[in-house]
């Protein structure tokens, strides 16, 4: 393990100003994250623009805080009102909401926070252990290998999407196509699909895409409902866990952490898989499987730990390969680029303070969450009952100001509207938004490495199968695709996904 690196990271993250910024991030993230229907991805997308004013380290530390706060906020709504912000928290809602109905919301929330903290701590060590060697391996990757790696990542995100494989694939391809809008920087600078609009030469902004997909589209979806049923969250009392609770969550937290740390590395959505897998593992090893779904504390402890460990280890592909393994990581790629840093194997050597500072600050963010946010839960719960007629205009206001302030470009605002409508309709017709975001973020990486690889090989397409690394990655992608299409596997997977509904 790179102890000197971790020490440098802790030194950076524990500077008073950085702790303060992390605290601000955690607070803001929780505030927005507990608003019903807004998951961590939407929260981070909405709050991204306000971080750009800081220097790179402070801005990424703040993002780390926002992310943890949002994650916690998402679990809170999952537990208290059975409204998970995103699919990985859906597992938490299964037993968490039942616990809340039985008057044990406090212990459920405490379990989520403590399990997350433990998992985050272990996973931080895992990142410190594996990221540096991975980065040195990644430096040996040629363009062909990178291309195949991106393809693999995209395929994995399909395999994990619920619903039709063809639709998920189409959403990825649409995302890739949207990513090609703007000047072709690789060769000639030809503006592509800009419709003669100068403001589009720099391409579509990823914040606009994310805000449109996860903000506007989600609000329009909510307006479908005839009555806005007011949610009255359960009262939270008694956060402390009994000795018996501690005994019961010990092993599930450990198992969840292990599963999450391993699966989080998978590019394209390992955290969802981690949450589902750890839940079904707990159910299988439990002596009382019939208690699951009826308020078993193990059913909260394990997926929350797994989810959080996976979120942490998904930094490994991001920081070593530049490949986001989590929708929030996809947003972080954009944040890195705005700060003038290209995520990838060079970050660890070129920006050691940033690399380790970020890893350590994720841990600090988690700690602040347990120390400060958990006691403040009563305050956050009140936010759940913010009426939608205040909430929706507020989201619209944040989205428009945030996107406009990025580049003082009105088209960044128009793109929110266009993508919001397109995203709303496609989701209504049974497509998923997350693959589109992945495709969009990875488009430049995919195209650049494809073109570079083919220039090196003088146009010989066989380079993708003759280079060993690339061949292995591509065959894994093919296997993944076949598995996703096979009817038997699909049925089983649908069963897993429908279990949470």
């Amino acid at each position: 393990m790179d102890l000197s690196g971790l020490a440098l990271g802790l030194e950076t993250a524990l500077q008073p100003s950085n702790i303060l910024i992390c605290l601000l991030g955690v607070t803001l993230g929780t505030m927005v994250g507990v608003l019903p229907g807004i998951g961590p991805t939407a929260t981070v997308a909405l709050l991204l623009p306000i971080t750009f004013n800081f220097d790179p380290i402070a801005s990424l530390i703040m993002l780390a805080g926002i992310y943890y706060g949002a994650q916690y906020g998402g679990s809170t709504t999952a537990i208290l009102i059975n409204l998970p912000g995103e699919s990985s928290a859906a597992v938490t809602a299964l037993d968490g909401y039942q616990m809340a109905r039985q008057g044990r919301a406090g212990p459920a929330l405490a379990t989520a926070a403590l399990g997350s903290f433990f998992a985050g701590t272990v996973a931080t060590a895992v990142v410190a252990l594996f990221a540096p060697p991975m980065a040195s391996v990644a430096l040996k990757f040629g363009p062909a290998d990178y291309f195949s790696l991106v393809v693999l990542g995209l395929v994995i995100s399909i395999a994990l999407a619920s619903g039709s494989t063809a639709k998920a694939l189409a959403m990825i391809v649409l995302g890739l196509l949207l990513g090609t809008v703007g000047q072709d920087l690789f060769s000639t600078g030809v503006p592509r699909f800009t419709l003669g609009i100068r403001e589009l030469y720099q391409g579509l902004d990823f914040v606009s895409i994310a805000v449109g997909l996860f903000g506007l589209a989600e609000i329009i979806r909510n307006l479908e409902r005839r009555q806005t049923h007011s949610v009255i969250p359960t009262k939270v009392q008694g956060l402390w866990l009994s000795r018996d609770d501690f005994r019961r969550i010990r092993m599930p937290v450990l198992r969840g952490t292990a599963i999450g740390s391993a699966l989080g590395v998978l590019p394209g959505g390992g955290h969802i898989l981690a949450a589902f897998t750890s839940y079904s593992v707990e159910k299988r090893v439990s002596k009382h499987p019939e208690k699951f779904g009826r308020g078993a504390i193990e059913g909260v402890a394990s997926p929350e730990s797994a989810n959080n460990a996976a979120a942490q280890t998904s930094f490994i592909p991001l920081l070593t390969l530049g490949l986001p393994a989590h929708p929030v990581m996809a947003l972080l790629v954009g944040a890195f680029i705005i700060q003038g840093i290209t995520p990838g194997p060079n970050v660890i050597n070129d920006e050691p303070e940033l690399f380790w500072g970020l890893i350590a600050s994720f841990w600090v963010g988690n700690l602040l969450l347990v120390l400060l946010n958990l006691p403040l839960i009563g305050l956050w719960v009140r936010l759940i009952s913010v009426p939608s007629e205040v909430l929706f205009p507020a989201i619209i206001a944040f989205a428009t100001i945030g996107c406009f302030s990025l580049g003082l470009n009105p088209w960044d605002v128009y793109v929110v509207a266009i993508i919001g409508v397109l995203g709303y309709l496609l989701v209504r017709w049974g497509c998923e938004a997350v693959p589109l975001l992945f495709g969009f973020v990875l488009a430049p990486l995919l195209e650049e490495n494809l073109r570079r690889a083919l220039i090196i090989s003088r146009g010989d397409l066989s380079v993708f199968v003759t280079r060993p690394i690339s061949a292995v990655l591509l065959s894994l992608a093919v296997v993944g695709l076949v598995i996703a299409i096979l009817p038997a596997v699909r049925r089983k997977r649908d069963a897993v996904f429908s279990e949470d509904e």
Binding site: I50, N53, S164, A166, K167, A170, V173, L174, L177, T180, D184, F186, S187, V190, R192, F193, L216, I220, L223, E224, Q227, T228, S388, E389, V390, F392, P393, A394, I396, A397, F398, A399, T400, I401, F404, S405, L408, P410, W411, D412, V413, Y414, V416, A417, V421, L422, L425, R428, W429, G430, C431, L446, L450, R451, L454, I455, R458, G459, D460, D494
Partner: protein, 169 residues
Amino acid sequence: MSNDPASSRTAGRRPGVPDMLAGGTFVVLGLAFALGGRTYGIGSTQAMGPGFVPFVLGVILTVLGAVITVQGFRGGNPHDREAAAERGPVPWVRGGMLVGGIVFFGATIEELGLAPTLFVTTFVAALACRGVSPLKALGISVGLTVLCLGIFVGLLQLRLPLLGDWLGG
């Protein structure tokens, strides 16, 4: 206010309509990107033109869209059908108001400045929510405008003019 509730129920019962609509959208967008991409120069695998990747991806999207459409004609995904049946009709008017508010923001922020633009956008957005009277929307939008000006201009000091050229700001 929005369209006829009966039509959504039949859309839910009619099999595969969501698949046909999604597939059709993908075909249209795929063709647009493929044809547009062709005009930028496809080149060869050895020396790819700027249009190569968009063209290939556009073709793939068109094919996928066609596959999804065919699946729709065959009855579509039962899961999607159930999901669609549970949902209300598309909120064209309310959704349109939100989108209109956002477009208004983009179109007038430079000329009117942040304060008036944001006020109009949040007012329209509040009015789009169910059961909100104009008076209530007014209260919400004034409150939100003040709050956002405080956060973005006061605290974060974004370089956004409060009042634009048209208002002598």
